[in-house]
Structures are given as structure tokens and as C-alpha cells.
């Protein structure tokens, strides 16, 4: 593939300057979701179902409405009538049904009514005045039980066209893909291992609860401030749910205190808008931590069967996986993603994968960092590890032998362009960690991981100022330092210092549509758009210089922040710096800006390889991760320190998922661990330093070679840690999290 316009020598890109919002973040000045206030502001609170599944017979809010401190009460009747459609076609209906229950409460924590009152305490008190009559229905929270013939039906007709006949109505989407001849492939194998694996639902665990400040008038015009990964999707969804025009609702994204996929949709925002419309005053709504756990989107739980055949030399001759994902009481569990990612690292002749999207009485799942991929990798990479152990083969060599490369037909269909999996495996083999001796009681685990990465709709505007500085407006909320990356890329094109560029996250009224900060797309897509917007401005700068010099524009090129004459007939002129051109731009043709809008398609898939050492205490079952190395292809690291940060963060979340985190439901279908004390995410004393190796195999689809780095880092840890623990404990761990009681039980079963 032609790489003509791809740059490979850089001035600013690859350096590690301080982030532009650093000062605000270390002084407490940065304004997050809950940090906004408005004159006359009311406080909202939401009444939630205590039942996992119940018909709402009657809501009597008269006592609450009569209270002097209460200014509005809303129920489902205060929202638009959004039509139901099966599967994901009716996603607005699904979101509406999730943010405010209709005929039934579908999970513990499901919103059934909301109030706005003069203080946060008054709002909370007023909830107790609302009387709800429920008819409790049978419930199901487990994925395998939800597919069984006798399972309670969550919603008839929710399945889309993809589901084969005869399945339970709770199975709402079905995916099948692959190629080759499985039977022939398994016949060639010297060893076949088939096993079943389970992972529990986990939460993204962002430290900032959902928060918003909403103002909506009866004229259909509104303002919304909220913590979100994507304010255009919030705008579009809220407008649909409230029955107003999209453009009349202006949404501003606050600083965001973590998202990891969990803030890619709306929960409280439409409720705050409905309360504001009814009360005719601004309404602030902030979730408690318990509400975050009970009623936002955790990841899916999964039940999986994997069968892999291997020859004595390590060649995988056939592979098959069945992945059943539970995504709460709505369609959307990423069974398709799990299936497509599971075998994606390998060059396989015979492969087949099946994914199920299954509903249960739990909150509507939301994306969580490479949604669906970590579970599948856990199952597949565990079986590969077991095959290596049984055949006496080195786990890195086996993965190298089977690794996908440029030209491989991926397990999910397409043919790979230039990819960097082999390079990450070679780096793992050469890394001192891989050959370091282990102490007694320790085990080492390896895993590869894959994620698609995403492009998405993107708009960027860049404007130059008379003094030669530049402002860049992007539409993707900055979750992990992306304003620094955008400024570096703009600096690279314009040739002006990083410090002279200010990057702002524009609101929905000041920039065209932008897809959410998800899919590891920000540095790729907003970066690409920033580069192209800057190049657009450079074209205009060259035109102005050409006019000043009286030479044709094609005789001017841009170098190191200056217009310079180029070519034999261009004449002899001194370089003209950017600031000299912008100084009088008002008189030479007007303001100079650059724009770019597109849906970039060349995101470039991403691979990583992790090495983990773990130590298991046979007395208590407690696991310590003693050493961790992340190796991942970044394509090109724009700001390497923040790339390392993504790798480390993904690994840490993976450690939590593997060892400790899980949604625990009681027999009554209620969530039993809805605070951080009981849902324990890794703390500083749980973790070692996390080493990183940035591999750079440039992505042909980005001008500087960038591949997204945000998500791939959470794909290998589950399997890598499970392999390390299994090797340390001498027993194969097939269920996550590998909490001390589960490890003790596995050790006991193993004698």
C-alpha cells in the first residue's frame, strides 16, 4: 500500500511535554460533571426498583408533589413515545426503557420515578413519599439459566432476524463466522482440548459518578452539562427521548473522571432534562456510587466453550468457540465481538465461532474497554496454554508459529493489512522478564490480545490567531491526555511550538458531529482530522505567501513553520514565518482556519502480548502479581508517556477483573456489592510496577502511523494472569475472578 503522505521523521510527535490541562487538574480547578452550579438550581433524585423483575401496577406521587420543597416529579409518562423495534434497531427505545421504566422494572436499581427539590437532601427525602405498587415476577440473572427453556421471559419480540428458530426469547442476537473445515482440522490434530469457562460481570469503575446539570424550557430549547465520553450522542439521544429537535439542545462535556466505555450512553441526563422542563428551573442530578453500580452499564458476564486442536509441532489445526454473553435486560451484549476477537490473533485454516446476546434481569450492559474481547481471550488463551503444557511446547514459540501477519485471512473474515503481532511476540521473547527465573510457588503466564479499533464520525476545526498561535477545536472528550496528543500533531504540521496551540473540547453548538471517545479512536480519528485541518490551514498560509511574493502557489511549500519558495522559478525569498502571515491576515483575505470532517476507515487493528508472574498462597488462596510486562503495538506513539499510561491502566483493570472484581447477585436478584468496599478494585498496595514496551508498526491508515492504544491492553490480562495462576497452583482456573475462595476450592478439588 502506498504510504506517500505518511510522515516518519518527527519534530514534536514522540516527545513527552506536560499536558495542557495539567495545572487545572493538580490545583482542583478542573470542572468535572458534579462541579457545575446554576442560579435557581434544583437537585434531582431517582427512585429505583428494589425488585429484579416486577410489573409496575401503580405509582402514586401525590404526597411528593404536594411537599413544599418538591418542584417536579417525573415518570415514564413525561418522556416521548419512542417506538419499540427488535434487537439494536430500536436503541432509542432500549435507552428510554433503561433510563425510566415503563410497564415493568427489569432489574434491581431500575429507575421508576424522579423528583426535583430545593436541596439534595430534600430530593432524597421526597423519594420516600412516592408509593409504587409492584407485582413481583420471576427473575433470572445467570446467562446459562436465562437461555434455558423455563427461564422467565424478559421481553417478547426483542430478538432480531439473526436468532435461529427455537431459541428462548431471551436470546436476542446471534453471530456465526469462520472458515475452513473444522472436522478435517480436528482430525489432523495430535491433541484436542475442549473446555468451558465463565467470567463474571465487572464494572468500569470510573471514580467519577455520572453527573449533569440540565436546563430545558417549554420552548424545546435546552442546555446540558454532563460528564460523558460523547456529547453528540448524548444530544441526539436526549433529544429523541424528550421529543425535541436535536439542534435545540446544546450539550457541553465537562472534564470527565473516567469512562472506559461506561459513559458512552445516557442514564440520568434525559431524567434531569425532563425534571427541568417540568419544574422550569435548572436541575442538577448526581448519582451515588451505589446507583452507579446498580443502574449504569457494567460489562457482560460470559459462559464459553472452546475446543482447539494442535499438532505436535504447535500448529493449531482447528479451533472452535461458543460464547454466551449476558447483557442485562436489553439487547446489546457483545457476543458477536467476543466471537470475532477470540481467535483473531492467529492464522487459522479451520475456525468457527458463535456468539449469543442474551438478556437477563440485570442493568443494561455498556461498553467496557474492548467490549467482549477479554472474556474470549481468557477462554482461548487458557486452552492454548494447556495445549502447550501438555505437548511440552514454549507458549511464545507456539503463538509465533500461529501468529497472524499481513495477508492473513482473519478468523472473522477480512484480510489483515500491516499488523504488529509478530513484533510484540518477538519483543516478549527477547524481554528479560521472559527468561527471568521464577521462585517456588510462582507461575508465569503469557497471552496475546486483539482489538479492532475504530474510526467513527469526526470533525475538527483549527483557527489561527494574528499573533501566530493556534486554537484547535475537537469533539472527543479528553479522557487520558488527548489534548496533548492533538496539540503535538497540530504542532508537527504547522511547525509552531506545542505551547502555542490550545486544544479545546468544543460543545455540540460549535462543531459538527463527533462520535464518542471510544473504540480507541481519539488519537487515531481526531488526530487524523487535526492533521488534515492543520494541512488545510497550511494550504491557505501558502496561498497568502504566494500572493505576497507574487509567485504561483505551487511554487510555495511549508517547512518548519514557514512558507518557503520551492522549485527553480520560485525566486529568492526569505522564509516567511506563520506569524508574519497571520499578522495581517485580515487585510490579505480574512481569517485563516482549517477544517476536516470525515468518517475515517483506516483505524488499523491492534495486538498486544502480556507476560505475568503470579504467586499463589496455598494457605489463603490469595494471589499476588509479582511482575507484569505489557508489550503492545501503538503504530506510532504520539505522546509515549500517555501511551504507557494506557497500557498500565488496561493491565491494572485486567488484574482486578481476573482476581477480584465481580457483580454478586443474591437469590432475590439484588446486587449485593454495590459499594467500593465490597466491589474492590485494585488499590496501590495490590499492584507491582507495570513495565511497558511500545512496539511501533505504523498503521497505513493514519498520516503519522497511529493505531489506537486504549483498549487492547485489557484483552490479554485475564488469560495471562489465569495462565500464571494455573501454572503456579498446578490446577487450571476456568472461572473468573480467581478470588481466594475459588482458588482454595480448585486446590482442594485437585487434591
Amino acid at each position: 500500500m502506498a504510504l506517500d503522505d505518511r510522515k516518519s521523521d518527527f519534530t514534536f510527535v514522540g516527545t513527552r511535554p506536560n499536558r495542557p490541562d495539567g495545572l487545572d487538574k493538580v490545583t482542583g480547578r478542573a470542572k468535572f460533571g458534579a462541579d457545575a452550579y446554576a442560579p435557581g438550581m434544583l437537585h434531582g433524585a431517582i427512585l429505583r426498583s428494589p425488585h429484579a423483575h416486577a410489573r409496575i401496577v401503580k405509582i402514586d406521587a401525590s404526597k411528593a408533589e404536594a411537599h413544599k420543597d418538591v418542584k417536579a416529579v417525573v415518570t415514564r409518562a413525561d418522556f416521548a413515545d419512542v417506538p419499540f423495534k427488535p434487537g439494536l434497531e430500536g436503541e432509542f427505545y432500549n435507552v428510554l426503557e433503561n433510563v425510566m421504566a415503563g410497564e415493568k422494572a427489569l432489574y434491581d436499581g431500575h429507575a421508576v420515578a424522579a423528583v426535583a427539590a430545593t436541596s439534595a437532601l430534600a430530593a432524597r427525602d421526597a423519594l420516600k413519599l412516592i408509593e409504587v405498587e409492584y407485582e413481583v415476577l420471576p427473575h433470572v440473572t445467570d446467562v446459562d439459566k436465562a437461555m434455558a427453556p423455563d427461564a422467565p421471559v424478559i421481553r417478547e419480540g426483542a430478538a432480531d432476524y439473526s436468532v435461529p428458530e427455537g431459541m428462548h426469547p431471551n436470546v436476542v442476537r446471534y453471530h456465526e463466522s469462520g472458515h475452513g473445515d473444522l472436522e478435517a482440522g480436528f482430525a489432523e490434530a495430535d491433541l484436542i482440548i475442549e473446555d468451558s469457562f465463565v467470567t463474571e460481570a465487572t464494572h468500569q469503575g470510573y471514580i467519577e459518578p455520572h453527573a449533569c446539570l440540565a436546563i430545558l424550557g417549554n420552548d424545546g430549547k435546552g442546555e446540558l452539562w454532563c460528564t460523558t465520553q460523547g456529547h453528540w450522542i448524548a444530544q441526539k439521544t436526549c433529544a429523541a427521548l424528550l421529543g425535541i429537535e436535536t439542534s435545540q439542545l446544546r450539550v457541553t462535556a465537562s472534564e470527565i473522571g473516567g469512562g472506559f466505555g461506561g459513559k458512552t450512553t445516557v442514564f440520568i441526563e434525559p431524567v434531569a432534562l425532563a425534571l427541568s422542563r417540568k419544574a422550569n428551573r435548572p436541575v442538577k442530578l448526581v448519582m451515588t456510587r451505589s446507583e452507579v453500580f446498580r443502574a449504569t452499564g457494567p460489562t457482560s458476564s460470559a459462559s464459553m466453550d472452546v475446543k482447539i486442536g494442535m499438532k505436535k509441532d504447535g500448529t493449531i489445526s482447528a479451533a472452535q468457540g461458543i460464547f454466551r454473553l449476558q447483557g442485562g435486560a436489553f439487547p446489546g451484549a457483545p457476543g458477536d465481538m467476543t466471537a470475532m476477537c477470540a481467535f483473531a490473533p492467529y492464522n487459522l485454516t479451520n475456525v468457527k465461532q458463535i456468539g449469543y446476546d442474551v438478556m437477563a434481569n440485570r442493568p443494561k450492559q455498556a461498553a467496557y474497554r474492548a467490549p467482549g474481547a477479554p472474556m474470549g481471550a481468557f477462554a482461548v488463551e487458557s486452552v492454548i496454554d494447556e495445549l502447550c503444557n501438555k505437548l511440552g511446547l514454549d507458549p511464545v514459540e507456539v503463538r509465533l508459529k500461529n501468529a497472524a501477519h499481513e495477508g492473513t485471512k482473519a478468523s472473522y473474515g477480512p484480510t489483515y493489512e500491516r499488523i504488529g503481532l509478530v513484533e510484540t511476540l518477538e519483543a516478549a521473547k527477547a524481554h528479560p522478564h521472559y527468561s527471568a527465573p521464577l521462585k517456588p510457588g510462582q507461575g508465569r503466564g503469557i497471552s496475546c490480545g486483539f482489538w479492532f479499533n475504530h474510526g467513527g464520525e469526526t470533525s475538527v476545526s483549527l483557527a489561527l490567531s494574528e499573533d501566530g498561535s493556534a486554537q484547535v477545536m475537537v469533539g472527543t472528550p479528553d479522557i487520558g491526555g488527548s489534548r496533548a496528543s492533538m496539540a503535538l500533531m497540530a504542532a508537527e504540521v504547522l511547525g509552531i511550538p506545542y505551547e502555542n496551540i490550545r486544544v479545546t473540547i468544543a460543545d455540540t453548538a460549535t462543531l459538527g458531529y463527533n462520535d464518542v471517545s471510544h473504540g480507541s479512536r481519539v488519537t487515531y480519528a481526531s488526530g487524523l482530522a487535526t492533521i488534515k485541518a492543520a494541512r488545510h490551514a497550511v494550504e491557505k498560509l501558502c496561498e497568502r505567501a504566494a500572493a505576497k511574493w507574487g509567485i504561483p502557489v505551487d511554487a510555495v511549500k511549508w517547512e518548519n513553520g514557514c512558507a518557503v519558495p520551492s522549485g527553480p522559478n520560485a525566486g529568492d525569498f526569505d522564509p516567511m514565518p506563520l506569524a508574519d502571515i497571520t499578522a495581517d491576515m485580515g487585510r490579505t483575505g480574512g481569517p485563516i482556519s482549517g477544517h476536516f470532517e470525515a468518517t475515517p476507515e483506516g483505524a488499523g487493528v491492534s495486538f498486544g502480548t502480556h507476560i505475568v508472574d503470579a504467586e499463589v498462597d496455598p494457605e489463603t488462596g490469595k494471589t499476588s502479581v509479582t511482575r507484569y510486562t505489557v508489550i503492545q503495538d501503538a503504530g506510532k506513539a504520539i505522546h509515549p508517556t500517555y501511551v504507557e499510561g494506557q497500557y498500565q491502566g488496561g493491565a491494572a483493570q485486567g488484574i482486578g477483573w481476573a482476581l477480584n472484581e465481580e457483580y454478586i447477585y443474591g437469590e432475590d436478584g439484588r446486587l449485593q456489592n454495590s459499594i467500593f468496599l465490597d466491589y474492590r478494585i485494585p488499590v496501590a498496595s495490590d499492584l507491582p510496577m507495570i513495565d511497558t514496551v511500545i512496539v511501533e508498526v505504523p498503521n497505513p491508515g493514519h498520516p503519522f502511523g497511529v493505531r489506537g492504544v486504549g483498549e487492547t491492553g485489557i484483552v490479554p490480562p485475564l488469560a495471562a494472569i489465569a495462565n500464571a495462576v494455573s501454572n503456579a497452583a498446578g490446577v487450571r482456573m476456568k472461572r473468573l475472578p480467581m478470588s481466594p475462595p475459588r482458588i482454595l476450592a480448585a486446590l482442594k478439588d485437585n487434591g
Binding site: L23, T27, E208, P209, G649, I675, F676, L687
Partner: protein, 159 residues
Amino acid sequence: MKKFHVTTTVNGDAVEYLCDPRETLLDCLRDKLNLTGAKEGCGTGDCGACSVTVDGRLVCSCLMLGVEAEGKQIETVEGIADGDILHPLQKKMIEYAALQCGICTPGILVAAKSLLEKNPNPTEEETRYWLAGNLCRCTGYDKIIRAVMDTAAEMREAS
């Protein structure tokens, strides 16, 4: 419910507010004094995002009532810098990219400053255990621990 009048000192400034006896110190700092640097991540004392010091002692301000602040000396993230001169911890947090989203950063800074005042030469293990009450979901703590330990080393050299 009847409100109580509280007089206290925050970051050296004498302040007063009226509060409901059910309101936490965190509520009062944020909603009455407009000091929104301290964050509510959990409301149960598990995440440390609301960390402040009260008479020099590190506390979760979500676990203390606003009325209990009467007559105390409270320090928050807003008081860490000396005017426009950042505290060495603040500088190192930025330099090390020891924050991604930044929501835990105010609590981490208050807690780390409290650590270095008690122990200017903490080991990695001591640093990890001291900060175990401050949850960060973005960084995996690696760069935070390095930033705090490097600050400690720099402050020891400077003193």
C-alpha cells in the same frame, strides 16, 4: 431540619456556613464554600477522592459531618500550591503524567503531601500502603508511585 452555624478555617481563610446536621464536610466544602476540588467518588470513605486534612490529620471529608468542622484547621487541594508556585508534588504529577482523567488527583495530592510530612523518605511499599485508600482507575498507580517517590527524593535534597 434546623441548620447549624459553623465557623472554621479552610486553607488559612476564616469561613462560615449554615449546614443541615446530615450534610458532610465534603458537601459543605463543595456546595457552600465553592471548593469543588475535593470530589465525591463513593460517599463511603472507600475511594479517597474527597481527602482533606483536619488539624493535620488525613480524613475522607465524606465521612465527617459539616458541623464537626467547627473551630478546625482544614486543608484541601486548593491550598497545596503557594499562590502561583506549585508544590513539588503537583509539578511531579504533571511531569510524570501521573494522572489520566484527573478525578482522583486532588485526593492523591492531599494524601501524598500528608505522607511526605510524616515520612520524608518512604519506601515504595510504604508509599503504596499509604495511598491504598486513594483509588485510581486509570493509571495502575505506577506513575503515581514514581512521582511521589521522586518528589520525596527531590524535597530531601532541597532541605
